[in-house]
Amino acid sequence: MPGKLKVKIVAGRHLPVMDRASDLTDAFVEVKFGNTTFKTDVYLKSLNPQWNSEWFKFEVDDEDLQDEPLQITVLDHDTYSANDAIGKVYIDIDPLLYSEAATVISGWFPIYDTIHGIRGEINVVVKVDLFNDLNRFRQSSCGVKFFCTTSIPKCYRAVIIHGFVEELVVNEDPEYQWIDRIRTPRASNEARQRLISLMSGELQRKIGLKVLEMRGNAVVGYLQCFDLEGESGLVVRAIGTACTLDKLSSPAAFLPACNSPSKEMKESPLVHPPSHGCRSTHNSPIHTATGSRLTQNFSVSVPTLIYTGMGSGSAGKEGGPFKALLRQQTQSALEQRGGSPHRFCRRREFPFFTLTAFPPGFLVHVGGVVSARSVKLLDRIHNPDEPETRDAWWAEIRQEIKSHAKALGCHAVVGYSESTSICEEVCILSASGTAAVLNPRFLQDGTVEGCLEQRLEENLPTRCGFCHIPYDELNMPFPAHLTYCYNCRKQKVPDVLFTTIDLPTDATVIGKGCLIQARLCRLKKKAQAEANATAISNLLPFMEYEVHTQLMNKLKLKGMNALFGLRIQITVGENMLMGLASATGVYLAALPTPGGIQIAGKTPNDGSYEQHISHMQKKINDTIAKNKELYEISPPEISEEIIGSPIPEPRQRSRLLRSQSESSDEVTELDLSHGKKDAFVLEIDDTDAMEDVHSLLTDVPPPSGFYSCNTEIMPGINNWTSEIQMFTSVRVIRLSSLNLTNQALNKNFNDLCENLLKSLYFKLRSMIPCCLCHVNFTVSLPEDELIQVTVTAVAITFDKNQALQTTKTHVEKSLQRASTDNEELLQFPLELCSDSLSSHPLPPAKEHLESASSNSGIPAAQRATSVDYSSFADRCSSWIELIKLKAQTIRRGSIKTTVTVEKASPVGDGNFRNRSAPPCANSTVGVVKMTPLSFIPGAKITKYLGIINMFFIRETTSLREEGGVSGFLHAFIAEVFAMVRAHVAALGGNAVVSYIMKQCVFMENPNKNQAQCLINVSGDAVVFVRESDLEVVSTQQPTANCQSSCTEGEVTT
């Protein structure tokens, strides 16, 4: 499918003065694609040149179209000496390669120079004409859509979720080539930028090919990363989840016709329609497995912990082509032992999903977090075309993750991500995810068939279903403490649940959530090569253990019982290791009430000491009580009596412990392993432990009106208003090298993070009440005594008064939820969920499109008025929210009166969107919103324009003049934002969602007055329409049908 790329250079503005004599510039432009270059005329003596060039046409292969960026260079013409470069613009033309996205790129782009930053702007128009070519052996994958969003994009429907795709490409880093010694820093930076752009293009194309091979048409949760391995090269790797997506607005989505997807993608006839076999196979509900499963000693939450303990002995050299292959953890012996490793289709080696949020019914059970790390020594990549070494490394890690998951009785891993930390020649590879059991309805045939057979059709998945243990209780491989689910009383649940995914939309949460972080530093001796790697390997298990303990303690201190969005980052530096775990704690209604934290002293019979202990204990208890109040955690205790189930064990146990704590002698007998009890005992046997307890209590809650979480949305807050503020904050501290102890280091690191958060709260105080969402901390150790913390998050305001402001996203969510909602109502232990509804339970496996039937929704909504607010405030508020939303949904659906009720919601919604959405939100011209979330509050995403993936280098040799390191980096980050916004605007978009700053590598040399920074960002360019704009249309057409539900919606609020 070769194509013709057409470029027109229109004008420039705000150009820098290049000729000191005249204070003007004689600018011209070079347009380069591949090996072809065109030039515009020189526009003499102007800082605002009007070139208005002809169309420059490049005839190229689509392979090149995907790989190469369009390179535009603005120069100053000089008759006597060489022309001076003003700056460059790289334009990724990938979004033009599939018809659904942008059709033209047109707009003002900042002209960027790696030494001077942004220097004026240039107006460019880019178009692509593609020719159809049915060559089966093509190397391109035009037409495959890429999304950074880690959920099914808002205006699409997942027909099939195929699974994991990964690829990596390697190359020499231009910065380390011999030629770098003789070329200018600018040339070197530009070579690097260009190479990375090229490599990511190639990577994306290769991933696209794999997707086509799997017969998918899109990659969701696409995460691309760079490993700057220094001397040994440059690795660009990416993972994602291959899917077959249908555009919701397209009526074809509901026809089982095979040609529906290809209609949508005219240039990619090879994209196959979904194979419809999968639909018919899974009409039966799936539920927990019993029977003989793998038995392995895993703790529920962090199986790695156990692994690290076991595996430590095997850390050492392994053979092979590597210089040294040190592994922190054993190659899991599971495959040989229990499970059958080849249960999964060979075609899809790893049943991993990079998604963190799922269509309703997709997630059946969640086992817990699985993670694996390995320490490698980097070696020069000898042959860039054969990146086998790196491939093998990752394959190994993935294998391990897979077996961990299997040991938890899970056949899949969701919320999967990979990362690296490099220091000199040592590299830590990490992978983590959440072991889960999935509903195979969405997966392509064969993937999970094996597991299915074992499953019994015991029960319908409910909203608590995902909490239920996937592993076998009788044959439980590790000392986890199980109770009956507090929601359905039928299945077993663990006492705590750790996951890397977002909170499922149908989960019942009590109160609000909060950001929980565990922070840890460990000193390490400076060492070389293998000794260094061994030292790191030895430290890792302890770090993981401690991070886990901290998380557990803090979770208990908050009175919560589950963590979502857990991300543990281990960073390696010259002389230390840093661990930072972030997660969002919540209280899941289905899980038991967490016990308190018990403090125990080691030295008995010392009065003052005991007094001290009891004082501490009181403080902890007070904190827990305070937190419960703060986060509005008040679980409905009566539910136990209503159901009449036995009082769960943990309560007794916690009481028992409390009584024991009086005599310190007995305390020592307590088993310290996490799983066995829910009351946590902290032993204070030395000053270290004392410090730990202190640090627990020093975490200051955010000021009132502020909430924070690292997941997409804050559990317990629904009424977002439309004001958002995305930001990046960077801090670097220098440690005094004199008294470096673990303790001092921990304190410094802790203070750094806490102060950073405090600063954020202060800066954003004008937005109160607001919530910091998707708080993403990244730690790096750029030098011996430097710690760098980078935070990106979005602050979203919300309406404190719970006003009737249901955002579009909620409507969508309620759409998705529709099927499970009805069941939620059934499970709700209140009289209002009574007989009439339970008479027609909705099987979860039935097409969710049809399940949003308004006939069951409306009565439910009406019933809502009878809820007694005061007694069940927590639960009801969120529940009412759902009903309110549903009312909204129904109203929306009923607009299209000609459509039958069954089809109403998605079809009506989609068409509605088409009819009412203006092609582009004119009211917000110029403003481009950025958010790390997959949605925009108060707005509806109408179109995905393509992926934004940009890499910039900035260097300075006049650091002081640019305001020091802070001034330099501040300006650079602002420039990066500007360039992202400009690209989005040029694509015709008005927002970037799922924005992420994947890398921010900062190096300074103040003595030489130099600094350099590399930043890599990505996201999805979208068009959104304000909800208020849509609302106008919807209220214009009230129908008799929706009347009741409309009023209902108002009443319930």
Binding site: H14, E121, F727, V732, I733, S759, S966, F977, A982
Partner: protein, 357 residues
């Protein structure tokens, strides 16, 4: 543990109005932090001094980066680096170009050159405005002056177009530019009682009536320069005081009309010739640049002070000036009625404004 680097960058640039004011007022970060602490912000928000320090630094850095753009406000609107809502942009610009009354009185009518810049130190000491702020205000005056100096068309419109200022502020700048261009003396001790507003009022009247643009807006005109031809013609008015008959007739016309209406009639009658001589001589002298500069000094000396020493109430001054200008129309021997109206119309407005304590 020392903080090496500490930054916050929002997709929408955060602007703290209070910190902006402190920055504009030329306070150092340390002083600004101290002032903020004193405002009680720590108690309100529960923040620590370190947080405040970091926040202030951050805002200062942002303002520093914005300053380059504020020098050419249209650039601020079109630039892509900082995403700022339009209302905030307007606020940034308006505040940046706002000036202190005390400062403007010191430099009004002075040449906006480097020589004067050296005097900023003294002005800073005298007015208590920080040197930094003085420098910003001075540079603003100079920048606006430079940009509109050679431009055609309405001065206010030009300023508004190139600096995106509010109407009020643009008018003030027009006055400043006009005064600087004509180098009117405003610093004499006699003139100290006059406010910037008084001068700005006069400037506006003069721009409207005495410049080239006042006669023909199509012309290759500039609002900044007084109409040379008009100033030349003003010599013709001398006849009003030089010709004794004309002067007497003028006096009798005014006295007849005002008899019984003026509280200070006798003083007026006694002083008429002096006052008229003063006003007409001011006009006749305007051909020389030096005398143009002294216009306000002359007006105060020749008219405001004599009246004030006789305790004329403002209403009487108004009656007198009205009658004084109108009576000239009844002087048969006087041929320069239009010229007189153009001169006296403006002067009457100015004098009434200047006449206060």
């Amino acid at each position: 543990m020392t903080s090496e680097l500490d930054i916050f960058v929002g997709n929408t640039t955060l602007i703290d109005e209070d910190v902006y004011r402190l920055w504009l007022d030329g306070y150092s970060v340390t002083d600004a932090v101290a002032l903020r602490v004193r405002s009680g912000i720590l108690e309100q928000t529960g923040a620590t001094a370190a947080v405040l320090q970091s926040d202030t630094m951050d805002h200062y850095r942002t303002f520093h980066m914005l300053e380059r753009l504020l020098h050419a406000p249209p650039k601020l609107l079109h630039q892509l680096i900082f995403q700022i809502p339009p209302s905030r942009q307007a606020l940034l610009i308006e505040r940046y170009y706002a000036f202190d009354e005390a400062f403007v009185r010191e430099v009004l009518g002075k040449k906006l050159s480097k020589g004067t810049k050296k005097d900023l130190d003294d002005i800073s000491t005298k007015t208590g405005i920080t040197l930094k702020s003085c420098r910003r205000q001075f540079d603003n005056f100079k920048r606006v002056f430079k940009v509109v100096e050679e431009m055609r068309g309405s001065l206010v419109d030009n300023i508004q177009q190139h600096f995106l200022l509010s109407d009020r502020l643009a008018r003030d700048y027009a006055a400043i530019v006009f005064f600087a261009n004509n180098r009117f003396e405003t610093g004499k001790k006699k003139l100290q009682y006059l406010s910037f507003g008084d001068f700005a009022f006069c400037a506006e009247l003069m721009i409207q009536n005495w410049t080239l643009g006042a006669v023909d807006s199509q012309m290759d005109d500039m609002d900044m320069d007084l109409d040379k031809e008009f100033l030349q013609d003003l010599k013709e008015l001398k006849v009003l005081v030089a010709d004794k008959d004309l002067l007497d007739l003028h006096k009798s016309l005014v006295c007849t009309a005002l008899r019984g209406k003026l509280g200070v009639f006798s003083e007026m009658e006694a002083n008429f010739k002096n006052l008229s001589r003063g006003l007409v001589n001011v006009a006749a002298k305007l051909t020389h640049n030096k005398d143009v500069r002294d216009l306000f000094v002359d007006l105060v000396e020749k008219f405001v002070e004599p009246c004030r020493s006789d305790h004329w109430p403002l209403s009487d001054v108004r009656f007198f000036l009205n009658q004084y200008s109108a009576s000239v129309h009844s002087l048969d021997g006087f041929r320069h009625q239009t010229l007189w109206d153009r001169y006296m119309g403006t002067l009457r407005g100015c004098l009434l404004r200047l006449y206060h304590d």
